[in-house]
Symmetry: C2
Subunit: 426 residues, 2 copies
Amino acid sequence: MKKIKIGLLGLGQIGSGVYRILTRKKSLLQKKSGVSFEIEKIAVKSPGKKRAVSVPSKLLTRDAMSVAKNGRADCVIELVGGVRPAKDFVLAALKSGKDVITANKALLAECGEEIFKIASRYGRRVFFEASVGGGIPVIKALREGLVANEIQSVLGIINGTSNYILTRMTHDYLEFGQALAQAQREGYAEPDPSLDIDGIDSAHKLAILASLAFEEPVRLRDIACEGIRAIDQNDISFANQFGYSIKLLAIAKKTAEGLEARVQPTLLSKDHILSKVDGAYNAILFRADEVGDMLLYGKGAGSKPTASAVVSDLVDMAQGRPDKKTNPWLTKRRLKIKSGSSIQSRYYLRFSVIDKPKVLARISGILGDHGVSISDVIQTERKVGNVVPLIMLTHHAGEGAVQDAVKTIDRLPVIKGKSHRIRIED
Amino acid sequence: MKKIKIGLLGLGQIGSGVYRILTRKKSLLQKKSGVSFEIEKIAVKSPGKKRAVSVPSKLLTRDAMSVAKNGRADCVIELVGGVRPAKDFVLAALKSGKDVITANKALLAECGEEIFKIASRYGRRVFFEASVGGGIPVIKALREGLVANEIQSVLGIINGTSNYILTRMTHDYLEFGQALAQAQREGYAEPDPSLDIDGIDSAHKLAILASLAFEEPVRLRDIACEGIRAIDQNDISFANQFGYSIKLLAIAKKTAEGLEARVQPTLLSKDHILSKVDGAYNAILFRADEVGDMLLYGKGAGSKPTASAVVSDLVDMAQGRPDKKTNPWLTKRRLKIKSGSSIQSRYYLRFSVIDKPKVLARISGILGDHGVSISDVIQTERKVGNVVPLIMLTHHAGEGAVQDAVKTIDRLPVIKGKSHRIRIED
């Protein structure tokens, strides 16, 4: 039987999951793949640390670079995370003739072009199913299942932490800070949650999905990114009254004016299939010319789902799948990025106003002057002289026009605090 | 560039879609696959017929067997449908050294073992992504994406016609006959709709999914099959009042007592993700030990989605993907089939009763005698002496006990018409 020797970099959540599957399901995997997988060496930061899996200490080393370069291994699984030093290990592995499997979205989003150039030069393959959507085979579905399609758009809920927080805010009426604290207690959020809640993790994943979908490198700086820190219970409950859920959505669309790529809190109609994606689940909705709308849904993170994706890559690699003929990161960039201000959308606007006669007329007048027309208004019970929220939904309007109007409105003396603008995705 | 010559059997909806993709997207597919696809010959019933695509008449022939055996083709795409004569063509193609791509679920469900035995003997591959879920890459996700998983259950809405009918009944309050007629007018149902509405098409697809999921041949006769003809507007609206949708569900579960496989109308809580799958859409929900719950959703039929799946198979085949090491249809059967009467479930029961004092007590007494306890009752406005529907939801009970109880109840003189029993899937 064919043997594949593996160098494993990292033995955290995902690494432990991979180790567990490769040892406990050894015979299942042999049967399914015709290959015997052997872990040659594992690089860890603290060999003495207590772990979820018990690993023979002779497999462990602190020297990740030696594992990356180890001549006895056929491939390296990189589960270190982050750009540095992970990138050095990946490049070293490729240069020493090994295929690489990685779950590292930051690395691919930020250095995809460099990594695939080296892989191509050394005739090696890089697999990365686990980098987006955890256990959901979204990369495989997109590159293989939809091979006959031109992709028109990708909409994704691809950060479980943010989605968990927004779900708790929606169903349990928690404020953002309470929901975040809850997520941290339950292990859904890191002690420093900024990568997740500021939308950066979603943007990393969207860069990968959009690159594959549109077959050209989409870079992090091409993606307008906004997180969920500014969402409060008012927004959640007013959106609900209008029939919407608020989701942190990653969006990439091909338009006549170029690529539109953004990560933003978004109002989604409760009829929209993505509005039903709750808790730590992820979902990705493709719109494509042949298949129409197609959705994949599942656990986007966690030890077992992500390890499942890593092992599926391992089997693909071991079975000698031919490498993809097209690689967006090896392609010359022709995509134009659509400027944010030219995006047309409906908007949810929340103003904090002093409740005085004619305030509504004044604000809607300014919006009208900018060509922004209003479809719905909620003005809560009137207490003249108090600060109250004033909520408006607009018809389709240009992002630039809405921005300008809100800037003007924010200068009115009756406005207290910064106004809040959220896109509506129809 | 590598060339793959194709013999195409059938130029109906799917065949026309495949022809269109292979001609209009020729350069896209060359770029993505590194292969040039050439259609060598197309077998059709009526070469003179007007079609959605215009095909050079020299490509057309009436002689399907000559296309199946044609020495100049590398592969045959079988889109004839049905068991005979499709099976003869597929076997002839395999025996003359060609790989086969098929969308034929009936053929695989009924003759999978024979077909894969011949394929294996002649060293050929059979691809069948288009046989389940149309454009959704569900076979690929299951065999490749979930390779590291043991599958615990498969739940699917895998017949678009039935789902369209149930959706129209639910949202537009149509009776079954009206919704069926509407489906026929809109091209969602055949003039003879029995394969779809009697659950047979779903059972074919479930046989394929369950065989792959549990890695042993699941045969059509292993699947308890019930269609949607008996569902009426009462059921839809009472289910709705209790917070449920009615869906034609294909279910396969591994249990301690063996495999449970059935196609049945089912009450699904409105919180269940499958209850949101409306219209002609399909969805398949896997529960697996590593990834947990994973759902795939999209268009399960139609020319373009199904052709998209056929072409993805073609690319996999042309790129020389190694064949799967495990094939359920080449595996010795060890699966025990769980007997229907031992299945435990909650039930929705609808009785047509003459409204008289003590009827409710009498019926619930008989259920109680059989160990079936009631969780909810709806008795509509009382008009003593009239026939009215009496609806009950039960707690978990054995299928056998419920059947026996209903049989006894149906013999009561106050019962008019056959009582109706629908499972509830929690």
